[in-house]
């Protein structure tokens, strides 16, 4: 998992901001609200980044943050406290809940496939044609914006599982085994799903060629 995106609010002014994660979890389990708020403050950005991988509107990201921390609150008892106070362990546990929440949301909304060709703007079609002809990628701001819009439209046509696997593989740089552990799937299921997801993405791209 890309640990670089595990962000915590270092500047939190809460009086419990120097308390160890293990102690905060113990206190939160006893119903200590400031302790839970501190855990929330430490991990909300990471959850927001995860939500931002799948959803692009602020309201959707906020919804995922709320849902994730509600699940975290009720699942605190099931969290196995580490005596070594490994903060990344707790961050990983929250990340797993966040990814699962995103996956549930993707399945819930189940975006219907629309006519992709009619959705594409001239700029998007132009970018894709150019990109298909040449191997070089342009990284200017305008190109990045067009690419992002095109990517969202394209990914919206994929199923929730395909989308999840592609994001975990290509955006989070996770290995097959890490995805398997995260989603509680077998490694072969991840491989098969990744293969199908890539094939689906290629199929949709070919339609545009």
């Amino acid at each position: 998992m890309a640990n670089s995106v595990i962000a915590t609010d270092e500047l939190s002014l809460s009086p419990v901001n120097r308390t160890r994660t293990k102690d905060l979890v113990d206190q939160a389990r006893q119903g200590d609200e400031p302790a839970f708020e501190e855990l929330f403050n430490r991990h909300r950005r990471r959850v927001a980044v995860i939500a931002g991988r799948f959803f692009h509107q602020r309201e959707q990201i906020e919804e995922i943050i709320q849902e994730t921390f509600t699940k975290v609150y009720f699942a605190l008892d099931s969290y196995t406290n580490s005596e070594t106070d490994d903060d990344s362990l707790f961050a990983g546990w929250i990340a797993r809940i966040a990814f699962n929440t995103c996956y549930d949301e993707l399945r819930r909304i189940k975006r219907r496939a629309e006519s992709l060709a009619s959705d594409l703007s001239e700029e998007e079609t132009g970018w894709l044609e150019k990109r298909l002809r040449t191997d070089a990628r342009s990284d200017d701001a305008e190109s990045a914006s067009v690419r992002r819009d095109l990517a969202r439209k394209l990914l919206a046509r994929l199923g929730p599982e395909d989308r999840l696997v592609l994001v975990l593989l290509n955006a989070e740089d996770m290995s097959v085994n890490e995805i398997a552990r995260l989603m509680n799937w077998s490694a072969s299921k991840v491989k098969v799903r990744a293969h199908r997801a890539r094939a689906a993405l290629r199929r949709h791209l070919r339609k545009l060629v």
Binding site: E33, E37, F40, N41, R44, R45, V47, A48, V49, A51, G52, R53, F54, H56, Q57, R58, I61, E62, I65, Q66, E67, F69, T70, Y73, F74, L128, R131, L132, D135, R137, A144, R147, R148, L150, A151, R152, L154, L155, L166, V167, N170, A171, E172, R198, L201, R202, L205, R206
Partner: protein
């Protein structure tokens, strides 16, 4: 040759796909704005409270459902058992004769028809009473 060409095309498409997935997943600015929302924790707290209430109600309802799930089959089982016992008892008990008890009719004390013990449960019809009287008279006449 053709296979290689297809494979190269697939690889090129995979590369573009990967680039697009990365582009779609880069949403740091919006994520930062969402995470910095001032009332976010209050909303989380409100949601936790609502969820607690929902779980409590759901718990009560599930207890009721569990009780009902056990009570309904138990009651139905008891009813079936009672019905079975009733049918079994009726089928095995000795059939009562619709005739009069001979012993009662020919009892030595012979207190009369009014002392006759009827083994039958059903009420006597007027014809049966008349037959009894006639039969008794015949016996006396002999």
């Amino acid at each position: 040759m053709i296979t290689e060409k297809f494979r190269a095309a697939d690889e090129h498409l995979d590369k573009i796909g990967r680039e697009l997935v990365q582009a779609s997943s880069t949403n740091e600015a919006e994520a930062h704005v969402a995470a910095s929302s001032p009332w976010l924790f209050s909303r989380v707290r409100a949601r936790i409270t609502a969820e607690s209430v929902r779980r409590e109600t759901s718990d009560r309802w599930s207890i009721f459902k569990t009780v009902m799930r056990h009570a309904i089959p138990a009651t139905a089982g008891a009813a079936v058992l009672a019905l079975g016992l009733f049918i079994f008892t009726n089928s095995t008990s000795p059939q009562t004769s619709p005739q009069f008890s001979d012993q009662a009719l020919f009892e030595t004390s012979d207190a009369g028809v009014q002392h006759i013990v009827f083994a039958e449960r059903r009420p006597l019809s007027p014809d049966e009473v008349l037959d009894t009287i006639i039969n008794e008279d015949r016996e006396v006449a002999r």
